[in-house]
Amino acid sequence: MFRKLILVAIALMVLVPALNVTAQPSGLPVDVPREELFVMDQIFRWSVIDNYNVWGPASGTPHRHALMFETLWYLDQETGNIMSGASNEPPVYNDDYTQMTVTLVDSLKWSDGEAFNADDLVYTVETVWNTPELSFGGWHAQFADFLESVEKVDDHTVTFTLNRPAPRFHKNFEARWAGLYMMPEHAFSQIEDLVNYTYQDGPYLGLYAPVEMDPNGFWNLFKKRDDPQNTAVCQYHMNEDCGPGYVLTILYGDSTKKVIAMTRGELDAFMNVDFEAFESLLASTPTAKSWYPEFPWAYPNETSSRLIRFNFDTHEWTNNKDVRWALALSLDIVQLQTEYIGGVAKVVYVNVPYTPKLAELYYNHPRMQEWVENLEIDVAGEPYKPYDGTVADRIGEWADEQGYAQPAETAAASYGSGWWKYDTDTAAKLLEHNGYTRDGNGDWFTPEGERFSFSIQAAPDEVDSFRVANAAADMWNDFGIDVELQGLERSVWSANFETGQFETDAPWLSFVLPDGDGWPQMRSYHSKYYVPAPELHNALGGGTPARLVDPVLDELIDAMESLHPQDPQNLELVHQYLQHWVENMYYISTVSFKKFVTWNELYWTNPPSAENDVYMPLYWFQGGRFSIGGLESLGG
């Protein structure tokens, strides 16, 4: 009897799946015709199920904010341009930046047919301002800090009065990642407990509404509104019925599973995979492509960059500028970029990504070009020019040697800026000038006679940062410094930098926003936010893990604060900040961000790409809405 039961159980396990597979050949969880369905990689697993209240602390917003929600403007990372959302005009400030007036688009409607207007914006701002529990995005705290009043002028005009000059107040409504999401006043004003409201039934201002969600958080299905012509996305595309009928976000897991899913035709776009997985995808799926059709393939213009950071608070040696320069000069950036990163990210000598807009404002700006080419540092009393402008060309030569077909654009456009010479003799002089000594094996010793050794911490799941750390550790060890690479799980790595428990590490950041403004990213470096380790670096709200104190930076940050982001004087101050930063080699910047954002043009075409570079392909950002709305069906 027992054996029979076992046999029946085994037979069931084999046969039922077989029957099921014939009924459901696709591994997709939804019953939607494939030619109407766009499937994109969900970048994490939802832990909050069927709750679309993106203002509360429950929120995870990736994908959803691009599909369902609207804000006033979008700051595109590819172009640095502002794209229209619920407003298609720039904000207007008074002379002292204490008042901001916004004009709204008059052609948008909520999915229930109600017109979007000034009442919605005023209601949204007042509700978030008056409800501390609606804390997502920090907008409540921003309004509590700055806002004096918000008033409707007419149906499509709203004026904000601020309690002090704030030339960047509009950034609260301008999405790089997200801008304040508009609330439907006519619907939400009827809700008693907005904090716990799950907002499952709309109305929505975006192009899509959620229709089904996996109770386990692996996927979420969205359906296009019946009136797409009333949305900002379709109005941008000048297409009354833009975008796929349905969008499914789905989490498959790691690089391997994403590549398998795309190969099986069950994934149309993914955010990123590692280089090796991408190569295997190209070999198996001819319809798949990333930003460039050929080498270097990956999307290179997300606004961030990889670097090596010093902890200036707890380790004395990091405070020696010559030592920091010696470390920079003992790195071979061409080797790092090619052998460790695969040649697919742009080199940067400062933490400004090499996007078209930012290259124009910084790397190729005459003031910066002249400065970097003539930059001299003091090496044991002798002037020394560290800049090497041939880096991009040498990476291009390496790519030629690999047999890669390359983009037609210039080497700099593909591979980034120049960098610092690989000059270990000069690096040695810098160390020796500061009392460091070298033994017969080439090993370095500190002025105190100890072996010169330190650690570099990195999170292996942030692949490029880990590879940068790996390259640096290898090269510095070759140079004779004893460097230990510590791979830490990301939350431990971040806990360490938050409490100052590191010597050097490999994080990522940008000193400027996609439009070139620096102050929002730089102000945390003001010494008034400094606290000593092991206190949390942001114990005073600002502050950075490097715990740097430099009065010159303070002055520049203070000077930027009162200027409008687009004021030419602001740009000049940012230039000065970057120059001072580099002269002191406070961080060793290496490469821009790159992501293998990849689209399989099997069911859908017209994604953004190097040949169609009108907006970014980062579909999980709120501004990713344009890339989804611009897709065209291939008819299955």
Partner: protein, 330 residues
């Protein structure tokens, strides 16, 4: 009265002490972790935003209040016990304001179903085949034993990954993640559940079965050379009776202990299998909670695990005299 006083009550007391100490340790350990849940939440809630420093401070205060992390650790400890005795594990930090009870309630059936089935099946098949292999040594049973000995040391996640590649890529027969359609207990749900669970179940079954096979075979072989089996063999008892009553039954004590503890451990989930096959069980939930320093979720799952294992140990302990009459309380 003697049985109750000398055997059952001490074990019940022991069970209570284990659980109280275990829960207390569970309360303390996440708080010793360097990962700060407020910093984690701050990073998540303000991703890519450039906030005023004053706004950051205000947001931190709000998060402390939301998560119930205000007050000293002693106050938090007593508040925790108060909530626990009321059946409330508190809110999740990573998925605030969801209750931990709801999150565990969603993941638990998946884990229990998968691990109960694979543990019991692995145990039954392993013991039967292992005992047969001990009793009937020969080419076939040696071949089976060889396979099991090869399979056993292979980490289960390697087997999982091989299955994933073979049956989702080269032969794309199974889904890449758990795809469950329909309402629980409906035909569609059962079909998709079995389809999605087949690979993780086989992976766990193979590794569990190989261990039990090796154990049963070794115990059976040792039992075969014991005096009473030799005597029974010489007395001409039939094979069936010899195998079941003299060999198998006498090897059951460690097997029951193994089953009991394995059943208790199912509440810990099976992390790597869940991650490889996208299976929505407790293991993945626990991992995410550890990453996010989500104390309440970590405590909730660990609590289940402690209660599960302690209870299983208690049941095993109490059932020994039933399984083996030679065991008597002292």
């Amino acid at each position: 009265m003697t049985l109750l006083q000398q055997f059952i009550l001490p074990r019940l007391l022991q069970w209570v002490i284990v659980i109280v100490v275990g829960i207390t340790i569970t309360f303390l350990i996440p708080r010793l972790s360097p990962v700060n849940p407020i910093q984690q939440a701050l990073a998540r809630l303000t991703q890519f935003q450039a906030l005023e420093p004053e706004a950051v401070l205000q947001l931190k205060e709000q998060l402390m209040a939301n998560y119930g992390l205000e007050g000293s650790i002693v106050e938090q400890y007593f508040r925790f016990w108060g909530n626990l005795l009321g059946g409330d594990l508190g809110p999740s930090f990573g998925a605030f304001p969801q209750r931990v009870n709801d999150m565990i309630g969603r993941a638990l059936p998946f884990t229990v179903a998968l691990l109960t089935f694979t543990t019991i099946m692995g145990w039954i098949i392993g013991i039967i085949v292992g005992t047969l292999a001990a009793y009937y040594p020969g080419r076939l049973t040696n071949l089976v034993a060889g396979v099991m000995i090869v399979v056993y040391p292979v980490p289960y996640f390697i087997i999982a990954f091989i299955f994933l590649m073979v049956f989702t890529y080269y032969i794309p027969f199974f889904p890449l993640i758990g795809v469950f359609r329909g309402e629980p207990f409906e035909a569609e749900f059962i079909a998709t559940y079995l389809h999605s669970t087949f690979l993780p179940a086989v992976t766990l079954l193979i590794t569990g079965l190989s261990f039990r096979f090796i154990m049963a075979r070794a115990l059976g072989t040792a039992e075969l050379s014991s005096d009473h089996v030799q005597y029974a063999t010489m007395a001409g008892l039939p094979d069936n009776r010899l195998m079941y009553s003299y060999v198998a039954r006498n090897t059951m004590l460690p097997q029951v202990t193994d089953l009991g503890l394995s059943m208790g451990a199912i509440f810990s989930g099976t992390l790597i299998t869940e991650a490889v096959f996208g299976y929505p069980g407790l293991g993945d939930l626990l991992l995410q909670a550890i990453y996010q320093a989500d104390y309440n979720v970590v405590m909730g799952i660990t609590l289940l695990s402690i209660v599960g294992i302690a209870t299983a140990s208690l049941i095993v302990d109490l059932s020994y005299p039933l399984v083996d009459p030679r065991v008597r309380y002292r």
